[in-house]
Symmetry: C4
Subunit: 215 residues, 4 copies
Amino acid sequence: MSELLFTPEQITAIERTRAEVSQLHQLLVRYDLVVWTGGNISGRVPGTELFVIKPSGVDYPELTPESMVVCTLDGRKVAGFSGSQRNPSSDTASHAYVYRHMPDVHGVVHTHSDFATSWAARGEAIPCVLTAQADEFGGEIPVGPLALIGDEQIGRGIVDTLQGHRSRAVLMANHGVFTIGKHAREAVKAAVMVEDVARTAHYARVGGEAHRAAR
Amino acid sequence: MSELLFTPEQITAIERTRAEVSQLHQLLVRYDLVVWTGGNISGRVPGTELFVIKPSGVDYPELTPESMVVCTLDGRKVAGFSGSQRNPSSDTASHAYVYRHMPDVHGVVHTHSDFATSWAARGEAIPCVLTAQADEFGGEIPVGPLALIGDEQIGRGIVDTLQGHRSRAVLMANHGVFTIGKHAREAVKAAVMVEDVARTAHYARVGGEAHRAAR
Amino acid sequence: MSELLFTPEQITAIERTRAEVSQLHQLLVRYDLVVWTGGNISGRVPGTELFVIKPSGVDYPELTPESMVVCTLDGRKVAGFSGSQRNPSSDTASHAYVYRHMPDVHGVVHTHSDFATSWAARGEAIPCVLTAQADEFGGEIPVGPLALIGDEQIGRGIVDTLQGHRSRAVLMANHGVFTIGKHAREAVKAAVMVEDVARTAHYARVGGEAHRAAR
Amino acid sequence: MSELLFTPEQITAIERTRAEVSQLHQLLVRYDLVVWTGGNISGRVPGTELFVIKPSGVDYPELTPESMVVCTLDGRKVAGFSGSQRNPSSDTASHAYVYRHMPDVHGVVHTHSDFATSWAARGEAIPCVLTAQADEFGGEIPVGPLALIGDEQIGRGIVDTLQGHRSRAVLMANHGVFTIGKHAREAVKAAVMVEDVARTAHYARVGGEAHRAAR
């Protein structure tokens, strides 16, 4: 845990990002993408080498701007902010890895949303059968490697898969979904949309097995 | 963007239609037919050559009567109304095409609702296996062509498919659902019902593959 | 529409039943068993030859005790009650048929709930694979005949199927579900439970096709 | 029904447990794990030979701390507490059996949640295809025996299956789910998570039948 010094402008940017990222978590609940304390969102703080992320083990209705944990880009928690007794999400090292290696990414979202995760459980990319998927992701949603939770392995898998890919979402094998965005809200939109296309593509395939040849 | 002149009666009709169409959008949320800013409803303004439609990129809880965009029947936005800084939905040209070619249609709805869109992804009409579908749509729900978003191609596909057809809903291939109605509320009802019958028909088929012969 | 005379006790019983039946409709919404204005509940009025039923074409949030329509056991609406400008549900003749032929039935519920209706669409009884179904329905949920809407044909199908059967629910072929009960609340419980067992039995079969032999 | 004497500290512990267990029931509703009055939660009272459990036949919105029934570890209701006119859940003997035979268990939850119960209906363990399942349950979710409701048979099946097993959840054949925890909240978390992994594993299998070989 490091203690750092900031300009008033940086403090304002940190607090604004904490408020924004805190509120975005409610969209994960509204769109039914998370259960219990699972899932997390982070956002890079403009004009700093920091990002803010959901604390570990806190229930969604209890999340507040003050409970968002401020971290350096190597994934260490920054002391001195209100609510800083909380530990950051166990996925923090992976979020940090993404921010270090993808400078245009300013938001990262992680969920185990049901349908997208069912494709991830098979290690199967979501084929592009919908114009909405083409618009949002540029084509199929790719699969990333099976990686251990807790260190930056997952982050490396995300970067290796999405670097140079048109998709802003990756299905981490046997695990769940990570999405990135130019800002945190865009990453949340990608998390919402990947579940939506995963669900429709699932129904399309399951409902039509017997009729595929006919098309 | 054109500036036009209206009688007081026309202004009243425009504002009434904006209020009605704005409120109907909440039914798309209530029945879980849309995510994020996807989907849209439009309504023809009685006694005018105009219709009103959802603005582009606005989240459902933020929609208000003032945010509904007023358009001419060739799909151009009419200036001078409060909230007119918003652009109309990217599907506006297609809604306009429908209003020009189907004079009895006074409401159009578009969604990517999950089950109906899964039939659309296969390019497969929904067979009529339910009395509710027979009552509401007169038989099967037809499939329309794959068409590009942004110009009136989709509108032409809707008109070509539904002209003379008993169904008020069409599954646009690999895209989603469009419904029409004698007024906007009737088109919304069709959007709700087509998802309901698509879901039941999906379960009926998937659950019974092994048992079909037995019937 | 007939005008009749009642004792004060009968008037009290009528108003109590209207309030109860009106409120029970909200459970159909809470358990996601109905869309738009579909579905209906009726309840026999104790100490009279009457029952009350949902009006036709009214949206669920708008239902009030006063909007419940009072009917004779031959399915005619009784004039003179507040809100009596509404027509009773189009299924009224069938509810009336049930009340005339099954004197112990005091409540009838009709829905097109998704999973139960998907079994009905195949004309296939729900096999008893759950202890909850055995407890609630005594075994499988039977299928009734395909019948036209609007006259008492459906009622006859319900009575013919459930008379002497342990189940309080019947799947009307290609149509939907009807349930009966010793009071309206019991019929609502059966409507909730039949959808629950239909859903679980559906998933059990679909998920296990490849593994059935192993059991 | 027995009348017993307690220290003030014990009374405080009882009331605290009743409040906690009462409130936890709302999570079963929030996560859509129960319908009607089905399902139940119990919690062991620290410093006593007692546990508290949901009353039989009470609707979820009506549950209060006072309605929670206080029981001895042989499953008999303790008289004298407010609300004690209610009978305890019909699963009480089985909860008691678990508390007697598993001293580290302080919470037990029972549901018929849809997807987990569909695996139970097939008598098939949920294979471990997700890192979240490995984290939460240590591997596959086992199946317990088919047992009669009402006496302690179910409790014996739970203990026989989970004793020495890493999973805190068991699928009771053709019945539903039981989960245990070091406290009631942990058992509720297991009930939420088992449905989540059951759902994802279901979709993963159903969606991929045709593609399994390719992996």
